[in-house]
């Protein structure tokens, strides 16, 4: 009985772990989930850095 319970818990835990790993890998590949507003801020930030570097 206990073994079965541990087995079920292991499956659930492994599934959730795999899910999180997959989501994170998906993000790593294409930044798909990153908010638009945040990325637009990134462009501004990068432009500022480039200006500073040039100066």
């Amino acid at each position: 009985m206990m073994d079965k319970q541990v087995k079920v818990r292991t499956y659930i835990g492994s599934f959730l772990l795999a899910l999180i790993l997959l989501i994170n890998m998906y993000i790593a590949i294409n930044y798909y989930f990153i908010g638009k507003k945040k990325l637009s801020q990134f462009f501004i930030w990068q432009t500022n850095i480039q200006k500073i570097n040039k100066e």
Partner: protein, 303 residues
């Protein structure tokens, strides 16, 4: 051949039975900046059978110096406690805590200085509120874990998923819900000594950089913060792999799996080297990644 990790008696025979703390471990978090390049961990040495008092004071001194380079040194006292549990020292005894007291006081002092100095962004506005930092912290720690196991598309910058005034993205709530559930469901395995050690080692070294505290950063994750912590997941994978190898009596498919994983890491690293050749190639890669998004045109309008 009996595995080092699985044979408890092997470990017990070789570890000195000493009550003296592991103070040579102090060099462990002493960071040295090499010619203004990346900060690196200079040493990872554990010498357990030295019992000189001088080491204790040298440890405290090194601990103070380490704050000059990286605020992550604040996690050293917790790490010392973790090593105490590994060496089965009784944490209920006062001596164990007393010897750690200077480290905790120093960590608190320097930690507060760091938080005070980075609490506000350049614009003067405050950082994300706590209810937003909670899912961010869960997301960040999972990101570090993923990057240790599958180091894909490593970059110099990982923007935060959302702006503070935008509200938390719905998908970020998956992390604070899933992580405790994972820990609960896998607890029968996690409570084993070496798995417990690996996970705590990972967690302790990231506690300050998971965005739970109000540190002003532009990047949600910075790979360099994960260097030390990556020992945890790497140890975890190695432990599980060796345990599985022993249990399954060395069947070829387990070897094959290991070879495929290492081979994939090797090939991917060889392929990704061109991205990290210099600053221009690295930034070009990030630019290309963002421009490849289907909503890139809308992004430009927002700018």
């Amino acid at each position: 051949m009996q595995s080092f990790f699985l044979d408890k008696s092997y470990i017990e025979q070789r570890l000195p039975q000493t009550n003296k703390p592991i103070y040579n471990f102090m060099n462990y978090l002493s960071y040295f900046d090499l010619k203004h390049k990346n900060s690196v961990v200079f040493m990872l040495i554990v010498v357990l059978n030295h019992q000189k008092t001088a080491f204790y004071y040298f440890t405290i001194l090194s601990f103070i110096f380490s704050f000059g380079a990286k605020e992550q040194a604040v996690s050293l006292p917790l790490c010392l406690l973790l090593w105490d549990t590994v060496y089965r020292r009784n944490l209920a005894t006062g001596a164990v805590w007393l010897e750690k007291l200077p480290f905790f006081v120093l960590a608190l002092f320097f930690g507060l200085i760091t938080i005070q100095s980075q609490g506000l962004e350049d614009t003067g506005r405050t950082f994300y509120p706590f209810y937003q930092r909670l899912p961010l912290a869960a997301y960040t720690i999972s990101e570090y874990f993923t990057k240790c196991i599958f180091p894909m598309n490593l970059s110099y910058l990982y923007p935060f998923p959302f702006e503070g005034d935008e509200g938390v993205c719905w998908w970020l709530w998956i992390y604070p819900l899933a992580i405790p559930l994972i820990l609960y469901t896998l607890y029968p395995y996690i409570k084993r000594q070496w798995l417990f050690f690996a996970l705590f080692f990972f967690g302790i070294h990231l506690v300050l950089v998971i965005n739970l505290f109000s540190l002003a950063r532009f990047s949600v994750v910075a790979d360099r913060y994960g260097y030390l912590a990556s020992i945890g997941p790497c140890f975890l994978i190695s432990y599980i792999y060796v345990a599985y190898l022993v249990r399954k009596r060395n069947i070829p498919i387990v070897y094959l799996f290991g070879i495929i994983y290492l081979g994939a890491l090797f090939l991917y690293a060889a392929n990704h080297l061109s991205v990290w050749r210099n600053t221009y190639t690295l930034k070009a890669k990030l630019k290309h990644t963002i421009e490849s998004r289907s909503d890139f045109e809308e992004l430009k309008k927002l700018k």
